[in-house]
Amino acid sequence: MSSPVEDVTRPASNEPFLVVDDLTVKFPTADGLVHAVTGLSYSVEMGKTLGIVGESGSGKSVSSMAVVGLHDAKRTHISGSIRVGGTEIIGLSEQRMRRLRGNEVAMIFQDALAALHPFYRVGNQLAEAYLAHHPNASKREANEKGIAMLDRVGIPQPDQRARDYPHQFSGGMRQRAMIAMALINDPKLLFADEPTTALDVTVQAQILDLLQDLQRDFGSAIVFITHDLGVIAEMADDVLVMYGGRAVELGSCSAVMSKPQMPYTWGLLESIPELESDPGARLLPIPGTPPSLLHPPTGCPFHPRCRFTGDVPGDLCERELPDLVPGVEGAAHLRRCHLRNPAETLDNAANKREV
């Protein structure tokens, strides 16, 4: 246990706590190989929040589950590199991966009712998570720790509620319990996979506040997965937009939100209703359907749905996959688009619409 390799809290170099480098995840199925994630790279520093946005099937959950090591190794092809605190976790033994999971790296799932075991008391499920990484702790200590965590996430009368079963909790409380369980071992890195999608708006706001509070206290890195750009705007320092299993835009939250560099991101932002806009006006959807991951489109994955392919000379969009490169705005804002100056093109399109 004391071997220095396993001490993942101290990164080997000065690189960010989580570094995902050229991650590719494929699932062999009866119909063929599903390219769930292709060549994905991103990093998250301690204390920072990265928001990952995308439609269902864009690879946002799959890539995160790869970091937590939740894919069945026999049914998944994973390549590339994932370094957590300097430790390469692709190809890590199950034994050592298990020590990381729920300890250094924890995950909050979307549907807390389905994600908590229906047969065990909430307190026991929390204690179990604690005991998994504190084998020398007594049951009593683990239970007390569980109750303390329930208290920390704002569940009233935690010592009594710990004896309840998940179905006796309300939706918001279940999600709080889920968060308490994920944070019980003080993880350095927390994945939150659509933690508020199933909740109503007021409870959603409470949960987001709670996560921000906890991040301040624990200083952990958070990867926040959602399709809700409003949530991203509130939570994230950086944003990664995924489409068809690839990163299509990556930059600081403010830059991506105010000056999108990729027609897909722009489409997402345009489809959000604004308070000041005409209530009778139709929302602007992105036409078409998400791409098949079994037979990904050639060229840019977004080209069959893109409104701006005409602005690119020739049939470049159909033929060639654009690289994820910095745009005119600076080196920190990456985009995957053939448009010479996407921000300008998109701006013009937005203005035309408003006039």
Binding site: A115, P118, A129, A132, H167
Partner: protein
């Protein structure tokens, strides 16, 4: 919970009463002649007159409702049964007396039941753990060679008619190769070792044959539960693989399997006809088969009644067990 159990017990009682009425009706409205049966049991010559006398003394010419009332009353208070000029006491719970041996049927059942109970318990100890373990293993390894081997071999055994499997095992393992001793029932109270060795082959054959359906059923249930979100959560907590599979996966997967176990066990208690017949075990299943051939009505009706009671009670036990395993189930 208490009110629920009381209501269920009342319902169970109604089912048993209904079953007994149906059995009674089937017998009396069918082509039956108990006087003939009783008479033939005593002498080869049966003039119509004597048959009539026997039927008269058995009350066969009384209205069916009255006969049912007499029978039902005897169940609680006991009664004296007379035929052929002699009176036979039948203490409560009286299920009638055998037309052949003239023993109270309750006595016969008490004599035969331990053998059937031993068979049922022993076989269950084999098929339930074996089926669940193999099924879970196949579910864990689904899609692999291990899975295909387990599913395939269970299908092969399942598709062999049970009586053929039992007969062949008896023929080869006992008679030709002599691997197992001649199967027989010895009460466990007299000699536990003889009890064990006498029943080991019937247990194995019945257990193995029954385990195949449990293996397939557990596999299906386990595949489903291993795909549940809460199993993923358990894995994400960093629990050991074994804990994830057993404590989180199997615990949920076992619930539907237990439902089937309850009913199967009740059916086994009502007699394992083929097993008892082929291995020569004197249990109530074999007795039921003999009494059907002999038209020994009191024994038939008693067997059906007992079988119905077991099934109804097993159902109730399973439902109560359900609420213990799954906290979401509240019995009201």
């Amino acid at each position: 919970m208490f009110g629920y159990i009381v209501r269920r017990l009342i319902a169970a009682f109604m089912v048993i009463v209904a079953t007994s009425i149906i059995v009674f009706a089937l017998f009396f409205y069918g082509p039956s002649n108990p006087g003939q049966v009783v008479c033939m049991a005593t002498s080869p010559q049966c003039p119509a007159e004597r048959v009539h006398d026997y039927n008269e003394s058995l009350g066969y010419y009384d209205p069916v409702t009255q006969q049912y009332a007499v029978w039902a009353k005897g169940l609680f208070t006991g009664r004296d049964i007379e035929f052929g000029g002699s009176t036979y006491p039948c203490p409560a719970p009286c299920l009638g007396i055998s037309y052949y041996t003239r023993q109270p049927v309750t006595e016969l059942m008490k004599e035969r039941f331990p053998a059937t109970l031993s068979l049922a318990v022993g076989a269950t100890m084999i098929f339930f753990p074996l089926g669940v373990v193999l099924g879970s293993l196949a579910a864990r390894k689904r899609g692999t060679a291990t899975d295909r081997l387990l599913v395939g071999s269970s299908l092969v055994i399942y598709s062999i008619p049970y009586y053929l499997l039992a007969l062949l095992s008896y023929l080869y393992l006992v008679i030709i190769w002599g691997v197992f001793p001649q199967p027989e029932y010895n009460p466990i109270t007299q000699n536990p070792w003889l009890w064990f060795t006498g029943l080991i082959l019937p247990w194995l054959v019945l257990g193995l044959a029954t385990s195949t359906s449990y293996a397939r059923f557990s596999r299906g249930s386990m595949v489903e539960s291993l795909n549940e979100d809460y199993v993923r959560t358990a894995k994400a907590k960093g629990l050991a693989q074994r804990t994830v599979v057993i404590r989180h996966g199997l615990r949920a997967a076992i619930v539907p399997v237990i439902t089937i176990l309850g009913l199967d066990f009740a059916t086994l208690l009502a007699g394992t006809v083929f097993t008892e017949y082929i291995f020569g075990i004197q249990g109530i299943g074999r007795q039921a088969l003999d009494s059907i051939q002999d038209q020994n009505f009191p024994v038939i009706s008693a067997t059906v009644l007992i079988a119905a009671s077991f099934v109804v009670i097993a159902n109730l036990v399973v439902d109560i067990l359900y609420s213990v395993i799954d906290p979401r189930v509240r019995l009201t």
